[in-house]
């Protein structure tokens, strides 16, 4: 495959120990994602999609194999270095939104900026700007419980963009949404990719929806990458 190999996953394996039983969640996965690409990852439940996402996001470390992002081997980073990687390089969105219930939309979006040492006023300014970007400029002070599922996911997207990451990892972002809202969310991601030259890796059960927006599809089964398909030339 031609490309810049912005993200390179090589023979990635993750084994979990559950007591005396070892469960192989990901087995020798190898794939490459170019800068600015939108890659859709799909597969059945238990195929290793979320494990792959956690490893790419630096939330977890592999049992073997390697992940390189922009030439840097992140699978060998220390815990503190991984935290900085998550802070500055990747933004993550989840199926269950993972917003802090007691925070307003503005505070949720400003949350990552807190750890980056950004001053309070600047945090508020940037968070408001991002919420405007996802069409939630009128809901800054609403708490997650006062927002619909689609709105909550848009807050989560704004939060993921707070530290201007290069990569956006989306783990089943439409899993809790109706089909219309799901399409709106994925369209928003696709637009942001174009506007901000983001590299997006999105996991979803909804293959059809993914194929509508993704440049490339990766199929997982039983922890292994069984096939990859270029859907369209991109970015």
């Amino acid at each position: 495959m031609d490309g810049d190999g912005f993200i390179q996953v090589q023979d990635l394996t993750k084994v979990y120990s559950l007591g005396s039983v070892e469960v192989v969640a990901l087995r020798n996965a190898t794939l490459s994602v170019d800068r600015g690409q939108f890659v859709g990852v799909t597969g059945t439940s238990g195929s290793g999609k979320s494990t792959l996402m956690n490893l790419l996001g630096g939330l977890d470390t592999p049992s073997s194999g390697s992940i390189r992002v922009d030439g840097r081997r992140i699978s060998d980073l220390s815990k503190a270095e991984l935290a900085l990687f998550r802070r500055h390089t990747v933004g993550m969105i989840f199926q269950s939104f993972n917003l802090v219930a007691s925070y307003s939309a503005l505070e949720n979006v400003a949350f990552p900026l807190l750890f980056a040492g950004v001053a309070k006023k600047e945090r508020a300014r940037r968070a408001a700007e991002l919420l405007n970007l996802v069409d939630l400029g009128a809901r800054l002070n609403h708490r997650p419980t006062e927002l619909s599922g689609g709105e909550q996911q848009r807050v989560a997207i704004a939060r993921a963009l707070a530290n201007q990451p290069q990569i956006l990892l989306a783990d089943e972002p439409t899993g809790n949404l109706d089909s219309k809202t799901s399409e709106q969310i994925v369209r928003l991601l696709a637009n942001l990719r174009a506007e901000r030259r983001l590299t997006i890796v999105m996991i979803s059960h909804e293959e059809a929806l993914l194929r509508e927006f993704a440049d490339r599809m990766v199929y997982l089964q039983d922890g292994a990458v069984v096939s990859q398909e270029v859907v369209r030339d991109g970015p």
Partner: protein, 459 residues
């Protein structure tokens, strides 16, 4: 993360759980309040004693007395043998003549460098009667000059003008025991002083010979009339204070009285030479720093000295023991409060488990997470310490008012039983923060090591 953000986060998170924060902080408030209160009481006692010493100039005095001859030392060390006295003349040193503490000796003392004044101490037992009441006491012979030296504070009247008249000064406490609670009315009143004397008259010997069962001594009494000229405000309490009796009369009047000068049975064992002079002379030096020098000079002359300055170090050791005891009692409350903090922090971390996962997903390091919770723990300590200090102050104020309310009826002046020096206030708050931080170490370490993958899946 900025320090101001940690503080704001801690405050915001504690404020969200007002009831729990209030209850946990309440535990710290009570614990620190009790601890500070105990310490403040210990400090108050120490301050009152020091103030009394300062007020009475007690640290400027040295009691001088002659050595009691020579003590024999055992030939070999015998653990069962009684201890030798510290004032014994060392073995092998020839017996020096016993120095007689007479007026000539006192004149010599006055010439010594650093000595401001020297007063002989002469006391004798007597019965003092005012109206229908009479009380036993020791009467002290004090020169008019000593009375005018500012050592005595008068509540009413004035010191006697010379060493001769049958005039006396009486303490307000003795006056109260004699039924007079208004010192100003006592001045000018007549007092009967009854002394005891050895009576070897035939009548006395006959009474003794025919006494049945009673081991009567050949003793009778003499009565003298004195006029009260002054009422002394407060008496010393047995330290090397020149005035430590409830009644003072001038030496001229004392000389005219027949009396038995015995302050205790031990006086009967005094060497004959020493009976010739005063049993004790009190020396006042210009400043406490000169006590050691003057003491050394006097001891070189074979005299025994006692100064309260020497006892200060021992007293300070005693104060430390008292402080340690109070600290131990106060720590019980603080320990219970710290367990409350551990419980609160563990609960808080369990409730915010998923939030910790979010923190890590958006780039928080383990250190960031630990510090966020440590600041919360420290803030509980800060609030608890500050309000605990306030509680201690309020409790001490109430105790002071109640106790002084009772003692005021007995004529005791107002006493602050508690002392809050600045280091105790700051130390109390600092200690509270420190204990809270220590209590927070275990739960916050747990928070720091939360696996973000597990936490983000947590419901």
């Amino acid at each position: 993360m900025r320090t101001s953000d940690y503080i704001e986060q801690a405050w915001t998170n504690l404020w969200k759980k007002k009831l729990r924060t209030f209850l946990t902080t309440g535990g710290v408030v009570i614990g620190i309040g009790a601890l500070v209160c105990m310490f403040a009481f210990g400090q108050g006692v120490q301050r009152n004693i020091r103030d009394q010493f300062d007020e009475m100039d007690l640290l400027n005095y040295i009691n001088v007395s002659p050595r009691h001859g020579r003590q024999p030392e055992p030939a070999e060390f015998d653990p069962d043998a009684p201890e030798t006295y510290s004032d014994a003349v060392p073995a092998g040193e020839p017996n020096k003549p016993v120095t007689v503490l007479d007026d000539k000796f006192i004149d010599g003392l006055m010439q010594m460098e650093g000595v401001e004044a020297a007063f002989p101490e002469m006391r004798f037992p007597a019965q003092v009667g005012l109206g229908k009441e009479d009380r036993f006491t020791f009467i002290q012979v004090v020169t008019a000059k000593a009375c005018r030296s500012g050592l005595i504070q008068l509540r009413a009247g004035q010191p006697y003008a010379s060493d001769d008249p049958n005039e006396m000064m009486i303490s307000d406490s003795l006056l109260r025991r004699l039924g007079n609670t208004k010192p100003e009315t006592a001045v000018g009143q007549k007092v009967e002083i009854r002394t005891i004397i050895l009576d070897f008259s035939l009548a006395s010997l006959m009474r003794m010979a025919f006494a049945r069962g009673d081991q009567r001594l050949p003793i009778s009494d003499q009565r003298y009339t004195f006029t009260i000229v002054g009422v002394i405000e407060r008496m010393g309490f047995g330290g090397p204070m020149p005035i430590r009796s409830d009644a003072c009369i001038p030496p001229g009047a004392a000389g005219r009285m027949r009396k038995l000068v015995l302050t205790g049975v031990s006086d009967l064992f005094q060497p004959a030479e020493q009976m010739a002079g005063y049993s004790t002379v009190t020396v006042r030096v210009a400043s406490p720093s000169q006590v050691a020098t003057v003491e050394a000079k006097l001891e070189e002359r074979g005299l025994r000295t006692f100064a309260l300055m020497d006892q200060l170090e021992e007293m300070q050791k005693g104060f430390i023991i008292v402080d340690m005891f109070l600290l131990a009692v106060g720590m019980i409350g603080v320990t219970v409060a710290s367990l409350g903090i551990v419980n609160t922090m563990v609960m808080s971390i369990l409730e915010r488990y998923r939030e910790i996962g979010v923190m890590k997903a958006v780039g928080a390091t383990d250190g960031d997470v630990q510090r966020i919770f440590l600041f919360e723990s420290g803030m509980i300590g800060l609030l608890g310490g500050a309000f605990g200090l306030a509680l201690a102050w309020v409790v001490s104020f109430v105790i002071n008012q109640v106790v002084n309310g009772f003692t005021a009826r007995e004529g005791v002046p107002f006493i602050q039983y508690f002392s809050f020096p600045w280091w105790l206030c700051l130390g109390g708050i600092g200690f509270s923060v420190l204990v809270s931080l220590i209590a927070g170490i275990y739960p916050t370490r747990r928070a720091a090591h939360v696996d973000p993958v597990v936490a983000l899946r947590h419901d």
